[in-house]
């Protein structure tokens, strides 16, 4: 509202006119591609097949969490508990597997634990209408407590080969977690775009009151939304357990922030109702390429933090400029 603002918004207009056409459609994808080009030019080995697979493999766990987080944020909510849920489901599935349960059962139990944790989050958020931030801040804390208590605070080594395969194996030279991630994204894409539930998610995020008045079962939908996030955290927990061959009670600390960052980088808005799952995977990849590339470039670890922090802000800023 002051002259300065006007000036700067004026500048953005001219910028807009130059770059707008391509920008509008591709947005964050362009940023990802730019980032890849830079890395390809400067970071040795960046373009090797193996490295590309590495990036995808390393993204997979955050990507799975972020898929659930996308749905939550689309409704205008947030889920801080995904990191802790991941830890708990990993611990439980490994415990059961080691206790002699068939691996599939153990894994399903771990995933089910995540789902159940999500149901509770959903219940408090949707039915008793507590702010999602508080509910999931609470569950973030107590779920990790539970993970520590049942594991005695120590990592549990995973023994079952079949279970390990899901996190550390590969099919046709491509690591299993990449397949799992892809399946998750394809399903979530369809769920969001082609099911009633998905459209209700958007409707609730756009205008919860209106959704209620048109007869959408808002509570039920929201419980499902948090359950999906829990489910994703459960899957991520099991994949993680396989990948690191153990159930770690302290796994996934601050993963919620990575997942949220990816969702927001992917263009999903906190306001609710606006965003796409395709954007999220791009957000995840931006973060992963950055981490991988900076390490390949041998950038000092502390400087990596500075660069990453700045890239988060700059990427969203660039994305903003095109609107």
């Amino acid at each position: 509202m002051n002259p300065n603002t006007q000036l700067s918004s004026g500048n953005s207009v001219s910028l807009k006119q130059k770059v707008l056409p391509v920008w509008n459609q591709l947005g964050m994808l362009i940023i990802l591609i730019l980032l890849c080009i830079i890395m390809a030019l400067f970071a040795p080995y960046f373009t090797e097949v193996n490295n590309v697979l590495n990036i995808l493999k390393q993204s997979s766990i955050t990507a799975i969490l972020a898929a659930g987080m996308t749905v939550v944020i689309l409704t205008g909510g947030i889920d801080l508990s995904v990191g802790s849920t991941l830890a708990l489901s990993g611990v439980i599935s490994v415990m059961l597997s080691n206790a002699g349960f068939p691996p599939l059962i153990a894994m399903l139990a771990g995933i089910g634990t995540g789902y159940f944790a999500g149901v509770i989050n959903g219940y408090f958020t949707a039915v008793t209408k507590l702010p999602a931030f508080v509910v999931t801040l609470g569950s973030m804390t107590y779920l990790r407590g539970v993970a520590f208590v049942i594991s005695g605070g120590l990592p549990l080594v995973l023994k079952n080969k079949f279970f390990i395969f899901f996190g550390a194996g590969s099919i046709l030279g491509i690591p299993t977690p990449i397949y799992i991630m892809m399946v998750v994204y394809v399903i979530m894409f369809f769920v969001l775009k082609y099911t009633m539930f998905g459209r209700h998610v958007y409707a609730i995020g756009g205008n919860e009151e209106a959704a209620r008045l048109t007869g959408i079962k808002v509570e039920k939908t929201l419980i499902n939304v948090y359950s999906i996030s829990g489910l994703m955290a459960g899957i991520a927990g099991v994949v993680m357990a396989g990948r690191v061959i153990s159930g770690q009670p302290n796994a996934g600390v601050s993963f919620e922030l990575d997942a949220i960052a990816a969702v927001i980088l992917g263009g999903t808005s906190f306001v609710g109702g606006v965003g796409r799952i395709q954007g999220t995977i791009i957000g995840v990849l931006i973060m992963a390429v950055l981490s991988n590339g900076l390490t390949l470039l041998n950038v000092d670890f502390y400087w990596q933090m500075i660069v990453k922090g700045l890239v988060i802000v700059i990427a969203v800023l660039l994305d903003k400029l095109r609107n």
């Binding site: 509202m1 006007q6 459209r199 958007y202 409707a203 205008n207 009151e209 048109t214 079962k217 109702g273």
Partner: protein, 496 residues
């Protein structure tokens, strides 16, 4: 509906209400802001459950468990507050809450959605593209989507809660054609509106509520506006407000506000106008004509791309509301809720917000010293509130609107821009607001008033400007202006 009672957190909102709705009738439901009309309808449609009382539908007692259930049985609602999801397409919004067309795999078929909703839209004479997002629509277009949605259910009972609040006469006429059509098909319609002319035009019977109580029901033919108003407000309104017929004051001296060839980034086109002190200039036009955009450009909210604004003959460059304020321009925005009120604050703070700096001592706010000024406005504008410390959301719409007006009077403006100053305000309050506007003008204020209600424009303005597609199409004096003339220019049919 029989003996309906309802209270919210201990406050009784409906007491012993009876309402009988017949097949093939248009039943007007009337009452002041807060009388309980919407609440009663929400009970009828299964959104709220009554504390006691019975709903008898087609001879059977019903207890709705959800809006879905009521709708399934044939009761649909056009809500007063627009209840669309702005981020979704028109098509989705129309079908929202129903089962979407799906293919064998259970996946939603988008083509079908758009095809189906295109038909619904066309049936009410709208050519809106169902693939558009609702957020891109004007308020009026959204209202049309809302109507289309309600009609898409083939209901037996249709509740319309102020469907015309943001429509102009052209759309209203279109709507009335649809209503008549539905009536003939035997649909029972509840019609809520604060606009008296509509009630007499469209309805068969009416029911009047006051303070949550049933007052009367009778055929519309057996009553008249004065009687209805009396029943609604519970007292005689010393006649509906009529501006004192002042002999035409030929504007004298310099105009306070002058616009020369004002354009914005595409909506407002080459607007030139003058407003003299003491004058109320009405700005009429169809929805989307660009009136709000013009007001926003004057007030520095949106940017002018060319043209000049002069205040008292001097060109000014207004780039923000703050600068507009400094030049003595006040602006009562179109939407109280979104642009006017601070829902979390008291009446007092809402009123004083842009003048707080006057009540500081050494940077410290002196709340007590604000009271005199505030009480003055409370009295002058006749604001009915329990206390000035009360939260503003506890007031009726009309009183909220007065508070927004008071906020702007407190800067001692030279120019007052009013955008739909009485939208959704009941008759009583509307009259009072009109009176206030005229009194202000008498004191020398220059007023530019946008309104979509022709009676309001005709009743209050000294001079009427008509906009069409961003351009000024006509200037009519109070004497020559009629509803027909205004509509003639507003629709852009300039082939005399």
């Amino acid at each position: 509906m029989e003996a309906i009672h309802k209270s919210f957190s201990g406050v009784q909102v409906l007491r012993n209400i009876n309402l009988e709705l017949r097949k093939g009738e248009v039943h007007a439901l009337m009452g002041e802001n807060g009388a309980g009309k919407s609440t009663l309808m929400k009970i009828m449609a299964g959104i709220y459950r009554p504390d006691s009382g019975r709903i008898i539908y087609k001879g059977e007692e019903m207890a709705w468990h959800s809006p879905l259930e009521a709708r399934g049985k044939g009761i649909s609602v056009i809500h007063q507050e627009i209840s669309l999801s702005p981020n979704l397409t028109i098509g989705e919004n129309i079908l929202m809450g129903t089962k979407f067309p799906k293919n064998k795999l259970g996946l939603v078929q988008w083509d079908e959605i758009f095809k189906k909703t295109k038909i619904v839209l066309e049936s009410i004479g709208s050519d809106l593209n169902p693939k558009l997002r609702v957020s891109e629509l004007s308020v009026a277009q959204q209202q049309i989507v809302e109507i289309a949605r309600a009609l898409s259910f083939n209901s037996e009972v249709l509740i319309m809660d102020e469907p015309t609040a943001s429509l102009t006469d052209k759309e209203i006429d279109k709507l009335f054609v649809i209503i008549n059509d539905l009536r003939e098909k035997g649909v029972a319609i509840v019609y809520i509106s604060h606009r008296m002319d509509e009630i007499f035009k469209i309805s068969d019977r009416c029911t009047i509520l006051r303070d949550g109580q049933w007052i009367s029901s009778h055929p519309i033919a057996e009553t008249n506006p004065e009687q209805l108003v009396k029943q609604m407000v519970g007292r005689d309104l010393n006649d509906l407000f009529q501006k004192k017929f002042s002999p035409l004051v030929t504007p004298q001296g310099e105009p306070v506000l002058e616009l020369i060839d004002v354009c914005d980034k595409g909506i407002v086109k080459n607007i030139s106008l003058k407003i003299y002190p003491g004058e109320i200039v009405g700005l009429a036009g169809l929805v989307g004509a660009g009136r709000t955009e013009l007001i926003r450009a004057i007030f520095g909210i949106s940017k002018m791309t060319s043209g000049v604004i002069k205040l008292n003959g001097k060109p000014v460059n207004i780039k923000s509301p703050i600068e507009a304020m400094k030049h003595g321009i006040a602006h009562v925005p179109e939407s109280r809720k979104e642009q006017g009120l601070f829902p979390n604050l008291s009446v007092k703070e809402n009123m004083i917000m842009n003048q707080m700096h006057l009540y500081r001592k050494g940077g410290v706010l002196q709340y007590a010293s604000m009271n005199a000024e505030i009480n003055k406005y409370m009295k002058d504008l006749g604001v009915r509130a329990a206390s000035i410390e009360q939260n503003v959301m506890g007031l009726s719409g009309g009183n909220q609107q007065k508070i927004v007006i008071a906020r702007w009077l407190s800067i001692g403006p030279k120019v007052l821009l009013l955008d739909e100053p009485t939208r959704g305000v009941d008759v009583g309050a509307k009259t009072e607001i009109h009176k206030i506007i005229c009194e202000l003008a008498e004191k020398g204020l220059a007023v530019l008033m946008v309104s979509s209600e022709l009676p309001e424009i005709l009743g209050v303005s000294d001079r009427i400007l008509v906009m069409h597609e961003g351009k000024l199409k006509a200037e009519l004096s109070k004497e020559e202006a009629t509803q027909e003339k205004i509509m003639y220019f507003a629709t852009g049919e300039i082939k005399k």
